[in-house]
Symmetry: C2
Subunit: 145 residues, 2 copies
DNA sequence: TTGATACAAATAATCATTATCAAATTAAAT
DNA sequence: ATTTAATTTGATAATGATTATTTGTATCAA
């Protein structure tokens, strides 16, 4: 089975297991979240869903995204400028690399982060439950321009 | 000179150098930003300013904070839940440790972050201009309860 | 002191997100 | 297949933090 179908089924199972229905609109949102590599915004998801179901309301997309978020099946990335982006592929905390020119968001691999977290726990006595790490900059493409 | 006065003077100089006036209300906001170790919100700043100048408008506080932010003299920490907090002591990017119970925000020292940034630049070719690193958890005090 | 400009206060506007609610749809039971 | 009870949708209103607007006031340099 493809990777995205595994993710999709995981989302569906999670909803079904909690007495939530899989409607066509909701399924469309789930598919987009499971497929998109580009960390889409609600508006972007809305645009795509409307192609399949033109009468879909923006509120429905918000509610569907909130639902999968509630069950930990999507990662919400809120930014200071108000834009929220979503990652349904890796719904757990991980670092992001944001190009401030073209708004592309990438997932760099930074293995040292785990060590840093452990160091932090040792030093502060905190029980760490979550984290957020974003780097902002200009991607190679945008630097050329 | 005390540390906070140095910070305060730096803020004042930056504003004056850019043809901005130091009004009593604005001075009060600057002092709070330079003094507070607790990463205050706009509302918290507003409360304090009103003690000195009861007629102060919330909009004035927003504008004052936005002004010092414009000149890089305060660090804005926007959170997903909509709450914005400000750091006038260290107005440059640095890691934060947030207790999700009592909303206390601390500044842990994580020297490994610089190495991680360099590694990222090597691997991606990005020109890194900014970053944001937050750890969320329960502080030792709140764990006792 | 004056004059030009910036600023403060009060309030209206904005905009992303959330809440509301009647009508439609769903999944399960008969 | 129908029925049924609950959930979901779609349209729209409400929310709330932040920003813009406006008018009168305070500031600073000459």
């Amino acid at each position: 089975m493809t990777d995205f179908k595994t993710r999709l089924n995981q989302m569906i199972d999670k909803l079904k297991a909690n007495q939530h229905r899989i409607t066509p609109q909701r399924m469309a949102v789930l598919k987009i979240l499971a497929t998109s590599k580009g960390h889409p915004s609600v508006e972007k998801i809305y645009e795509q869903v409307k192609r399949l179901f033109p009468t879909t309301s923006l509120a429905t997309v918000y509610k569907s995204v909130a639902l999968v978020k509630e069950f930990g099946e999507v990662l919400e990335l809120g930014f200071t400028d108000g834009s929220n982006r979503y990652d349904g592929n890796k719904p757990y905390p991980h670092p992001h690399l944001v190009c401030t020119e073209c708004r592309t968001i990438m997932d760099p691999s930074l293995s040292a982060l785990a060590d840093m977290t452990h160091e932090l726990i040792q030093e502060t006595g905190f029980k760490i439950t979550n984290h957020r790490l974003d780097f902002f900059g200009i991607c190679p493409e945008c630097q050329k321009k």
